[in-house]
Symmetry: C2
């Protein structure tokens, strides 16, 4: 069963005291370039710098007390780790985060700053899973998956819900897709709260599992995903794929060059910092410019966590 | 005579239909680090990416028609050139901009995109002045000085006016100082509209003419100004220095390293893009942390125009 409208409404009420209700911005230059009316939902201004805080917080706040007291755990080197760590801190729970030993120091420090316990492991999926299991066995902590979890999806769905509350008559909305938590949440919110809005996804060509799966009708993972959009390397799960198949119109793939160009445009013209993954929907809009021309649409800027010492601009 | 309260109020009414009334943002992390309550006035979100548009626009809109018809001129490779070019375009006037031949291409393109005529000259003050005179002789265009002009100062004063309308009970406000247009405007707005607010300036050590002049009681130029804060290389004029001497509490100098650290903090935690000059007031706040501790204060983020291919982060 997909999360219901009521579950998304409840999730929003639950997390609203703790999240930033992020602004929706417009930019004249980008409207001229795209020949659209574009509303940018700025989750780069969300706490921890990305939408992931919403889902992690909703999942944690749903845990029964008896279970929550042993803490929560996940493996991630990205925004989910920070989101879970802060959500745990707010709920006075312990967060156990497994990170690859080569994780960027800035990300390790961010997770640590929220008081989480960090466990390093070798940088491969198997080592991560083994380490996580070991941590769970030792602590009794509950694993909170970054996207394969209905409470997480309901939490991410609040991004779309806020967009539809802020903007009426949207003809389309474009979200990035990695594991599909944000995209499936967005699709559900459109379905329930703005059924006239068509939902599209932007996906990097170098990690186009959602695109391939969408067209094949079954999950087709990408062997070695490779893209600058480091938040979108993961593969959709059965849970997110089902929602995407039911409620998403199309998935538009873009190259890393197109992602960097759109990222640079947002930095230069909007003067806000977004991460490569967040630039994917705008790149998708440019890719299908003729199709979207004249439309009123929303784009989700999913996050703003970048390593300033290692930027893709020249 | 300094610009009066009425002149600033009139300037604001005049330019308000064309400018962005920029937001005032707060950031919990920076409040914790500074142990202050800091309100950031985001002129990086102003049109052309900097406050300079306000002063240039006010000056142009004050010109008698008979004079305006021959256009306006200035020499600048920075934000004033863009501000004057856009202000002229809005008023359907010709802007003639003298730029050094080594000006960054991105700035030349920005000025050109507003329809201004560009004249290149050698990269020294004398060549600039000569070229500007030649252009004025040929066109009859009116020179609009970047800061030594009461209409420009009144225009820049609207930044402070908006701050005092948005935030009450401010104990201090910190602006950057280069030629002193923004600082003197801010000081006048505080004097008229929020007399309980004390005005401070941040200035780069490598271009500390305002600091030296302030303490000597007369203008002391810096021979070879050298700082990453490229908007603050100029020396105060008699006009701005008089206002600064009358209404500014103190000038706090900071090193380039301190500027870069504050710039990075704003980028990382606020996810907004500011230029080095805009980071100077925050660096000044950190420099005098003990003094400002516990205060409610405003900081002017003066602009966000940076060359993304040449950033000071490592």
């Amino acid at each position: 069963m997909e999360p219901t409208a009521d579950q998304i409404i409840d999730a929003h009420k639950r997390i609203l005291p703790f999240i930033n209700r992020t602004p929706v911005l417009i930019n004249n230059t980008i409207n001229e370039l795209t020949e659209c009316k574009v509303f940018f939902k700025c989750e780069n201004f969300q706490k921890i710098g990305a939408f992931k805080f919403r889902g992690a917080l909703n999942a944690i706040m749903q845990l029964p007390k008896s279970q929550a007291k042993n803490g929560v755990a996940t493996h991630s080197s990205g925004n989910h780790a920070q989101g879970l760590a802060l959500a745990a801190k707010i709920n006075q729970l312990k967060a156990h985060i497994v990170m690859p030993e080569n994780a960027p120091k800035v990300k390790v420090n961010a997770v640590r700053s929220y008081g989480a316990e960090i466990y390093f492991c070798a940088s491969n999926i198997q080592a991560r899973a083994e380490k996580l299991k070991e941590v769970q066995d030792n602590t009794g902590a509950t694993m909170v998956h970054p996207f394969d979890n209905d409470h997480v999806i309901a939490g991410q769905a609040t991004v779309g819900k806020e967009i539809f509350e802020a903007c009426s008559l949207l003809e389309a909305i474009i979200a990035p897709v990695g594991g599909g938590g944000l995209l499936s949440g967005t699709a559900l919110s459109a379905h329930y709260f703005s059924p006239e809005t068509k939902v599209y996804a932007g996906e990097p060509m170098g990690a186009n599992d959602a695109y391939k799966s969408f067209h094949a009708g079954e999950i087709i993972p990408v062997e070695k995903p490779d893209t600058i959009a480091d938040g979108l390397l993961t593969t959709v799960s059965e849970r997110t794929f089902r929602i995407i198949s039911n409620h998403v119109q199309d998935i538009i793939t873009v190259s890393d060059k197109e992602i960097i160009d759109s990222m640079k445009l947002v930095w230069e013209r909007m003067k806000i910092i977004i991460e490569p993954s967040a630039a994917v929907p705008l790149a998708a809009l440019f890719k299908r410019k003729e199709f979207f021309k004249g439309k009123s649409l929303a784009i989700i800027l999913s996050g703003g966590n970048v390593d300033l010492g290692n930027l893709p601009f020249v």
